[in-house]
Structures are given as C-alpha cells and as structure tokens.
Amino acid sequence: METKSKNIFSSITLWWMLTVIILFIVLAFLGLFMRTEQANLLPGLQEYFYSAMTLHGIGMAGIWYVGSMAGVIYVSAKYISPSKKVQNFSYITSVLGIVVILISVVIGKFAAGWYFLYPLPFKGTWPMWSTVAFLLGITILGVSWLVWNFDYLRAVSEKYKLHHALGWQYISGKEEPVTPPFITITTTSVIACFAALISAVILIIFYFTEIGTEKMNDALLMKNLTFFFGHLIVNLSMYLGVGIVYDVFPEYTGRYWKNNRAVSIAWNFVLLLVLFAYFHHLYMDFAQPVWMQYAGQIASYTSSIPAAIMSIFGTLAIVYKSNIKWNLSSSFMFLGIMGWAIGGIGAVIDSTVAVNTVFHNTLWVPAHFHTYMIAGLVMIIMGYFFHVVLEISESNRNERTSQIILGLYLIGGYGFVMAFYMAGADSIPRRYSSYGWDVISKGPFWAEMGLFFGLLLFLAILLYFIVFFNKWKKAYHTLQ
C-alpha cells in the first residue's frame, strides 16, 4: 500500500520539483537584478525595478508554498490517500495562474508589489488590463490551492478523527491512537492555510467588485485581508516544510521522531494563534485599534516560538550521537531548520512594537524574511527535493559536489542576508529602486555587498540545479 501510494505521486512530484527549481533560478536572477539596480550599477533600468520586485515576491511566495505542499502530498501517501486527479488539477491550474501573472507583470508592467496592497493596483502607471490580469492570476491560484487544501483535509478526515489528527490524545496524556507528528503539523497548517485562502478569495471579490461597480473599498479592511492571507501563506509554507523534515529526517538518523504532548501542544498553538499574528504587519496603521496591535505582538511570539523550539530541539536531539548519514539532502534539511531559528529571531524582533516603529520601512524587513526563506524554508525544500529524486532514482547518495554547493550556499546566503541586516541597522529604506541622496549613501554600498554574496548564492543554486537535474532525469527514466 505504501509503495503504491508513493508511486501514484512520484510523477507529479517530479514535475512540481522541476517547475519550482527552474522558476527559483529565474526569480533569484530577478533578485540579483534588483540589488544591482540598488547598487546604481544599472542606470536606465530603474523603471523595471518594481515589476521585478512584484514578480520576485509573488513568485517566491508562490513557488515555495507549492513546493512545500507538493512535498507534503508525496510524504502523506504513507499515511493517507489524497486524490491524484486533484494533484494534477493543482499543478495545471498553478502553472496557468503563473502564466497569467507573468503576462500581467512582463507585458503589462504591473508593479504593485507581491501583496498588491489596496489601492495601489488602481493607482499605478500600468494599464488597467494588467491589474485585471494579475487579479485573475491570483484568482486561479486561489481556487487551485483551495481545492488542493480541501482534498488534503478530506484525505486526513478519511483516516483520522479531527482531535486525533491534531494530537489531542497526547495532550490529554494518552499514547493511543498513534498520530505521526507529520499529520499533526500538516493538519494544523493546512487548516490555517485554508482560512488564508478564503481571505484571498474575499479580497479578490472586493477588487473585482470595485472594478465592476465603481464602489470603493475600505483600505484598512483590504490591508487586513491582504496580510491575513499573505502572512499566513508564507509562514505555513515553512510549517509544511518542517512537517516534511519531521517525517524524512529520521530516515537519515535512524531514530523515529515521535509525537508527544509537547509537540502537539506546540503545533496546536500554531493553529490557535497564527491567525492573529499578521496584525504585526499593521503596526503602522494608526486607525487599527490598539488592542489589535498588542494581540499582534503576543500572537507573533506565542505562535512561532513553541513550534520553533520544539522543532529545533527535536532536530538536535535526534541528530545528537546518531550515526546520521550526511549528504546534500540531510545537510540542507538540518541547516534549514537551524536557519529557521535565525530568521525567526529576526522576524520576532521585527514583530515587537517598539522595534517595528523604527525598523518597519528599513531593509531589516527584507533581511528577516530572506533569512527565513533562504536559510530556512528554501534549504529544507531543496534538501527534500534532492531526497525525493535520490529515492525515486535509487541513486548513490554521496555527491562529490555537495560540500561545494553547501559551502557556497551558506557563505552566499548568509552574506546576502547580512547585507540586508546591516543596511537595515543603517536605516536604509526598503523598496527603493536606487539610493541617490546623501542621507542614504550607504544604500549602494550594502547593495554591492548583497550583490557579491548574492552571486555566490546564485552559483550554488546553479550547481545544485545541475546535480539535481541529473538525478531528476534518472528518476524520470526510472518511472517510465
């Protein structure tokens, strides 16, 4: 049963992985392009900065979400039976949504940023059709992912009662029935994700209502809906990735990662509080009631810290004195979990009201979310993708280039985000296409630093792709 289920999703997972990695390379290139512009090394191309920023942002948020979700589906086949038709539907519609967004941004020059904050989509220099196309692309993705999440919950519900899936038996002191931590983590995450996608659907309905009727929307309500969706989808991508690590990492350490009371409490905290953490994106919005701002800070701490501590401590515990088999996959996953801690600390600092008041519009913000992504989620998913192609192709797991890739990735990745942190500490504002004034003269310097390390990171990604693609081809032929 287990083998059969895995085979069902092997093919679609291979396509998901290849799509994600290719898009990652393109989007990373756009990131380098932006840092090059900020370093004032590409005069005359500044008009493309915000389109690049939009595509880079929405693309990265999207590909790592689908990467995590595709990985979750592949792992989940051991325990539950998601629908193969739904997986195919999600893949095709996601690609379609991406194509529509590409048309909007590349041809239509839509440049409102990845979370298209109201009313900016209606106020830009781009034509109205590109706004409509962008919203249409988001609609396709939203519907696609809603169906995907629904099907996952359906599959969980066919095997587990809700309170068992959430691990409540452990919280109440019982050990039976056994629920793998993977199921608890992904169920809590997918439930929250479903709420986020409903929020996106409401948001899109409001946008189209304004386009169709000339009624206006309330900017604060739109911002709340936007960040409820945007914050959750990015955070839950990480949680889905962590769920994968809980299940896959023991294959390298030889130690089973058990569910228990602490793990279940931590992840139920996520479900309970992650819905309120997004308030920290609205600290600058003075019209938001003050109690919501406090709730944002409390929820930011309580939703992330327990799960992070449990996962990091758990990872260290199962690695400690184990005969772990280090390869590209296990190294990336291990360091990804540790990177989550570093990026998470940066994020929690930024979610503190007193700090956010100073840091909100500086490069500290891209610093923390790039750490969270580059050193955390991306490493986890890249490690896992490599694990899958090795598994399907039944290849030798010792890669000679692994250490070079890993070294370049770590130096490039951490150097790249360090340039953001230092610039943030220097009060360099974010979302500027160039830095021309004396007051922010350090902006180009830190952009050059970021560019240097970014090129090392990009090289690591290209090397990873070469190694990955070789294994991918073997895996593909194995399935034929």
Partner: protein, 251 residues
C-alpha cells in the same frame, strides 16, 4: 448588475449636468500631488521675482483671488487669514502668496482688495500678479480654473490653497472655509512631517472596519469588521463537513 447600472447611469447624469453648466467637477487632489509647479514670474509691485525663489526659501501656500471679485474671494480670504493667524509661522515656517488670476488686475488694486478682505499688512503675505502666459501655466499645473460670467466683469472660479514644497504640489485644500487644523496639517506635510489621515465614511465604500466619532474620537467597530470572521467561519464549516459529517472513521 442593477447596482452597477444605476451607478453608471448616475455618474453619466452627473457628468452631463456639470458639462451643461460649464462647471468642471470638483478637484481630485490625487491627480496633482507631486506634480512639478512651473517657475513663473511674479510681479509684487516693488520687484519681480521667480516663484521658485519662494519655495526654495521655505514651503509655499498659494491662493488665488482677483480684485473685482464680489463673491467668494473676500470671505475665503478672511477665513484663510484667520487660519494663518491661528497657526502662525508665516515667513518663518512657510511663505504665503496671494496671486491674482485676472490679467487686467494691477498690483495696487489687488493689495487694496486683500486689505479690504481682512489681510493685515503685518501678516507678511506676498501679493502678486503675473502675465497671461504664466497664469495659464500655473493654473493648469495646480488644477485651478476660472470663467467669465456672461458679459460681466465677474469670474466663476473655485477656491483653493495649493501647498508647494521643493517645486512640487504636496497638498491642495479646497472649500470656502479654511479650518486652522487643516491648514496646519498642510504646513506639517509641506515641512516633511507625517500627518495621519483616514478617509471619511462614504456610502460608496463597500464595508468599513471602524468608524471614528468626530467629536469624541472614540473608535467603534462596525459591520465591515465582521468580514474578518468569514475565513474562520469558512474553515469551521469545512472541518465540520469533512470530519463530523462526511467521514466518521477512526484510526
């Protein structure tokens, strides 16, 4: 669909009505913000100066009047003058230029009119005229319009104060009554300070999260905020359907 049709119909009727009366629609400030202001020549009587020399010194508030105005110019100038007196800071934090938009005006008539309308000599307002070409440039750039009423010497026109900083329009205040608080906010914006603002209620807005009582400042959560609960309600419905209605299996 009916709502959309009604909105379009009403918009069309409103547009036709305004066109029939020859009166442009109310100024949309958004269309002018951050747009450059032409550097026109101003005749102050004693000397001729470039407009840029005023905004280079400090932020500039520009108001339009004409000497023969028997309508809204006088009460408007008085209101503006009172607001300036209340907030203070002329020639220290900002300059004020009263510019005639009647090319037949001469500077002494405009000065006399301003004094009659309540502008004190001690207020240090700069009063000036300009030539027809420059007048067209500045009025076009700031969204100001005027039109002769029949064969009279009276001109139909709106009233507005244009806030200029570093050669760009940063704020436009319209309306006959110039509230000191609004004027002070404009000066703050021109000086580079952040001024909080939140759109007022409008029937044209679909849902709103909060309403603020303008007298007490108290914030009240309104029906629009209920939208926040829709995702949570949605997921509860899905969970109930999947876990308690559709499937009742256990491990």
């Amino acid at each position: 669909m009916i709502t959309g049709f009604t909105v379009i119909l009403m918009g069309g009727v409103s547009f036709c009505y305004s066109q029939a009366n020859g009166t442009p629609p109310p100024l949309d400030e958004d269309l002018f913000l951050y747009k450059p202001v032409p550097d026109i020549l101003i005749d102050t009587g004693k000397t001729k100066i470039q407009l840029s020399s005023l905004w280079q010194e400090r932020p500039l508030l520009l108001a339009y009047v004409y000497a023969e105005c028997k309508g809204r110019c006088s009460p408007y100038l008085l209101s503006f003058s009172n607001a300036v007196n209340t907030i203070g800071g002329v020639n220290r934090d900002y300059n004020v230029l009263i510019l005639s938009f009647d090319t037949t005006d001469n500077i002494s008539r405009v000065r006399a009119f301003c004094r009659m309308a309540g502008i004190d000599r001690n207020q240090k307002f700069i009063i000036g005229t300009t030539n027809a070409v420059d007048l067209k440039k500045i009025t076009n750039a700031t969204g100001f319009w005027y039109k002769q009423i029949g064969n009279s010497n009276q001109l139909d026109h709106p009233v507005q104060i244009t806030g200029i900083a570093n050669g760009q329009i940063r704020r436009i205040i319209t309306g006959d009554e110039v509230a000191a608080q609004r004027l002070n906010e404009a000066v703050q914006i021109l000086s580079g300070y952040f001024v909080r603002s939140y759109p007022m209620s409008s029937k044209n807005i679909l849902f709103r999260c909060f309403e603020t009582d303008p007298e007490t400042g108290a914030v009240k959560i309104t029906a629009g905020a209920m939208i926040f609960f829709v995702p949570a309600m949605g997921i509860l419905v899905i969970i109930f359907y999947l876990f308690y209605f559709k499937n009742k299996k256990t491990v």
